[in-house]
Structure formats: structure tokens, C-alpha cells
């Protein structure tokens, strides 16, 4: 009984909205008394608009760059926070998480002038940099939890077996961290792809990501098109995850496919 209530409300509140959006995206605006008319017009409008296609590519590119930098920054920091002890460790951890509790819009505005001076305003690089502010704290959290699950002595064991720092990282830490890395990438990508205001401030209207054209679309397009556009946002994390998995496979070869099941 309890179980059914839970499943039903989860479906109603979490799944139905998406199904409704999908349904809406393939039907013409509903009129009284009629059954909805099926149409592909919404999706055609979205995918035939070169600005939309371009914005998707830019959004995905920025999101992947953000995720990559997140991992490069997050993995060593998470390792230090989890496996090393040093002075002011707790303070450092709090400071690194602090941006989650602060208005990121202030950070973006604060960076604006500096970005202009550095020539990074209105570029995708500038936008990527400002997207790091709300994403890196989450990545550090997720990866630290991942490192916490690897016993310190497991890594010492690797050293005793003559693995160098890099070899141990590649053959022990990285495979054991895969689930956390996957979550971190996913989080970074969804957060980055959902930024309107940070992109608007630093991108200054020159870096057109999906959120940037979503707002003007809302003024002009009807619900069918808007629904299709809304659903299209899922493509970004989906594509990012696929690309990340493919990259991991290319880097590590068969290891990843074979070993995934036991993680």
C-alpha cells in the first residue's frame, strides 16, 4: 500500500511532467471538443532552426569543457581532502564548498569587467570559466565521497607493489572512482547546461547557448514548439554522458566495458 502510494506519486510528480511535455511537443495546440492533432511541427521548428542547432553544439561543448575541468580540479583536491591530513583541512573544505551558499550571480557580475579586460568576455572560454563557480563545489563533494570509499591501505598496497603515483592512479584509483566520476560529470553538465544568467552576463549575447535563446523563444513560439525545445534539453546530458563513456573506453580500452558490471 505504502509502496504503491510512493510509486504513484513519484510517477505523477516526476515522470508525468516529462511525458506531458513530450505529448505537448507532438500535438497541435489543444482546442475545445477535439482530440489533439498529431504534428511534428514543434520538433521540425526546433531542429530546422540553425540557431537552435548551433546553440546545442555550443551548450554541449561548454558543458563538456566544464566537466573536464571539474574532473581535473576535483580529483586531486578530493584525494587530498579524503586521504591526507594537513593543517586547516576542514577550513579548506568549507571554503571550497562556500560558493554553493553564495549568490553566483554576484560572482559573474564581479568577473564581468575583468573578463572584458582579459578579452574573455563574450567568448565561450569566459563562459566556461564562470560555469566552474557553481559546479566545482559539487564535483569536489561527489569525488571526495568516492575517495572516502577507497581504503588508504589499498593505495599503500599499490605503492608496495611498485606502482608509481600515475600508474596507481590509472590502475587502482580511477577504476574504483568510475561511479563517482560518472555522477560528477552528469552534475556538472546539467548545471552548466541550465545556466541562463551567468552565460548572459559573461557571454554578453555573443555566446548563444540553449538557455539564451529559450527566453526569446518563449515570447514568439507556441506551446508545441516550446515543449519540443524543453524536451531537447535532455539531449545535452545524454550526449555528454555518451561522449564521456566513449572517451573513457577509447582511453582505457576494453577494461571499462568489461569491468562496468562489477562496480
Amino acid at each position: 500500500m505504502k509502496k504503491n502510494i510512493f510509486y504513484m506519486s513519484s510517477v505523477i510528480f516526476f515522470l508525468i511532467p516529462v511525458l506531458l511535455l513530450i505529448l505537448k511537443s507532438i500535438t497541435a495546440p489543444w482546442r475545445s471538443g477535439n482530440l489533439p492533432d498529431w504534428t511534428l511541427r514543434g520538433w521540425e521548428t526546433v531542429f530546422q532552426d540553425s540557431r537552435v542547432i548551433e546553440s546545442m553544439a555550443i551548450t554541449l561543448g561548454i558543458a563538456l569543457a566544464v566537466a573536464l575541468i571539474n574532473l581535473i580540479v576535483g580529483i586531486p583536491v578530493a584525494k587530498a581532502l579524503s586521504h591526507r591530513s594537513f593543517k586547516l583541512k576542514n577550513t579548506l573544505e568549507v571554503l571550497l564548498l562556500l560558493p554553493l551558499f553564495l549568490p553566483v550571480i554576484a560572482a559573474a557580475m564581479g568577473l564581468h569587467i575583468t573578463m572584458i579586460r582579459l578579452g574573455l568576455a563574450n567568448t565561450w572560454i569566459g563562459v566556461t570559466i564562470v560555469h566552474l563557480v557553481p559546479t566545482i563545489p559539487y564535483t569536489i563533494k561527489v569525488l571526495k565521497a568516492g575517495y572516502d570509499r577507497i581504503p588508504q591501505d589499498m593505495l599503500n598496497q599499490g605503492r608496495m607493489l611498485k606502482a608509481g603515483v600515475w600508474h596507481a592512479f590509472r590502475t587502482i584509483e580511477l577504476p574504483l572512482l568510475i561511479p563517482s566520476i560518472r555522477s560528477a560529470i552528469f552534475l556538472a553538465v546539467t548545471i552548466s547546461a541550465g545556466q541562463y544568467v551567468l552565460t548572459a552576463i559573461i557571454g554578453g549575447g555573443s555566446v548563444i547557448t540553449m538557455p539564451i535563446i529559450y527566453y526569446p523563444f518563449l515570447q514568439s513560439a507556441d506551446d508545441t514548439v516550446m515543449s519540443a525545445f524543453s524536451v531537447a534539453f535532455v539531449l545535452i546530458p545524454a550526449a555528454a554522458v555518451l561522449i564521456a563513456e566513449a572517451a573513457a573506453m577509447a582511453l582505457a580500452g576494453r577494461l571499462f566495458i568489461k569491468r562496468r558490471s562489477i562496480q
Partner: protein
Amino acid sequence: MTLPYLEVKNVSKQFDKAEIFKDLSFSLKKGEILSLAGPSGTGKSTLLRCLAGLDHFSNGEVLIEDTDLLAMQVKKRPVGMVFQQALLFPHLTLLENVAYGKKITHGKKEAYEMAHSYLKEVGLENHVKQYPHELSGGQQQRAALVRAMLLKPKLLLLDEPFSSLDPGLRKELREWVRSFLKKEEMTSIFVTHDKDEAMLLGDRTAVMAEGRLQQIGLPHELYHTPHNALVAELYSDVIVLDEARYCPAEKASWRAERKDGHEWFEAEWVNETYHFGRRLAHIRLISTGRRITIPAGESGKEASGYVTIPPEAIKYFKET
């Protein structure tokens, strides 16, 4: 006279000004197994970690075949280590785990061949393709040992390798480990806090307590002639009378009355047990509150009485 293979000279370790151990010195011959016994928290594990290179001595020198061990990086040190847990890498098969270190130093082909032959030797050849979670605790620990041995270290360190196993398995495994180490002529240091395990596994035993090596010697030397009260209490079955004197527990007896000319302690009867057909009395000494076990003989089990010690049984610690 053979030269020592491993020589540890006056090593000390401080951590945040607290002294963990000081001026430890000992040496081992090739193929010798040293049991390092003592209560937990006396720095036995730290000593091993320093020898392994995972930690650093504050002072002292360690020579292995006359070369300075401490000057070598962990990667170059001919030292292997087996931890309390088997710590097999969960994402690698048994074979890949065992071959892990050898693969780094000698390449894949040689490592896998050698791993195969060793696993066969220790009876794990049917499990090579399995992942660690599919193996039993004993199998895992055996694999961990083989994994360390594959690199043919000059010195193998074992840090309470059986502590996570159940008692039955422990007994079986320690005999196996000793014969395996002996066959490979592996110079080893084996840490344990179990007296029996120390005797069974080591050629010699070192007792470490309060940051010092209290005594190092053959099992019977430690048992029959402990150098001081600490060793006596940790390793031997004796009654410590004071700083200088002790008496083997088997010479003491339990009486309702004192006996003329005998040393005596007022005591309380706690309980009795039987061991190899002998009745043993568990006694609590009133003055110190310490509990001791002595042969009970035919004596009764009065609630209170005396532990008496014949003067001829009293011995003196060697150390001053």
C-alpha cells in the same frame, strides 16, 4: 659467523613530539622469520610502515645486504608488505591482482606466467578468473601473500595478516604461511599480538612494549628467562613479584593458610578451568587486583586464601 642480512640500527619515530618508539636495534639472517609481539598501540605497525617506506623514521639506519634501505624510494625498495586486510583490488581478477606488481617491473607475459605457477602452488589455480569478492577470506589473504611474494622482495613485512580471519582459519593459515615463507627462504617480520602465533611463526620473537624492544630471542628464552616484568607478563606464564623477581606460575600454589618460609599473597578465588587434564585456578590478588592463573592441584575452592611461593622457585630478571 654469518653477516646479518638485515640490520636495523637505533631507529626512532616521533610524531608531533610524542615518541612512538626509540632506539630499536635488531638484525635478521637471510631466510629468518622474526615475530614482533606486543600489546596493540606500541608502534609495531608504525615500525613496519617505516621499513616499507610508507612512513619515515625520525632517526636511525637500516641496512639490507649492506646497502642503505632508507635512502631508497618506495618504488625501489626491495620490501614487500601484507596488510591486515587482504586489500585485493576489487576490479581486478585474482590473476591480475597477483600479477599486478610483477607486471610493473617485468612486463605482462612474465608476470602472468609466474602468477599462474604460484597460484597453482598455493591451490588457487581454479580461481584465477574470479574477482576478489567471490573468494573466501582465507583465499584472499593467501592471494595477498602470493601477490607480495611475486616481486621476490628481500624483506617481507606481515602486519597481523590473520587478524580479520576467524580462529579456525587462522590456525590453518599460519602453518601454511610459515612453510611457504621457509620454502621461499623469505626474510620476514611478522607482527602479531598473539603469543602462540608469535611462537609458531617466528624463528625468533621480539617483544615490543612501551616504545622499546624489551627482549629478542628464541621462544623458549623469552618464555623461561624473561628479561623484565613487561616481557614476563606479556609472553610468559609467571607471577611477577616485584621489579626484580618473578616465579613461574606452575611453582605457585593455592592454600587456605599461609605457609612458613614461603612468599605469600592474599587472594580471592575467582574460578577454575581445565587444560590438558590439569586443573587451573583463576585467582585475584587482593593487594594489586591483578588476576593470575596457577595450577590448582587438589586444593579446595575457598573464597579467599593465599597464593604461596616456595623460596627456591623465585628467579631474578636478568636486566638490571
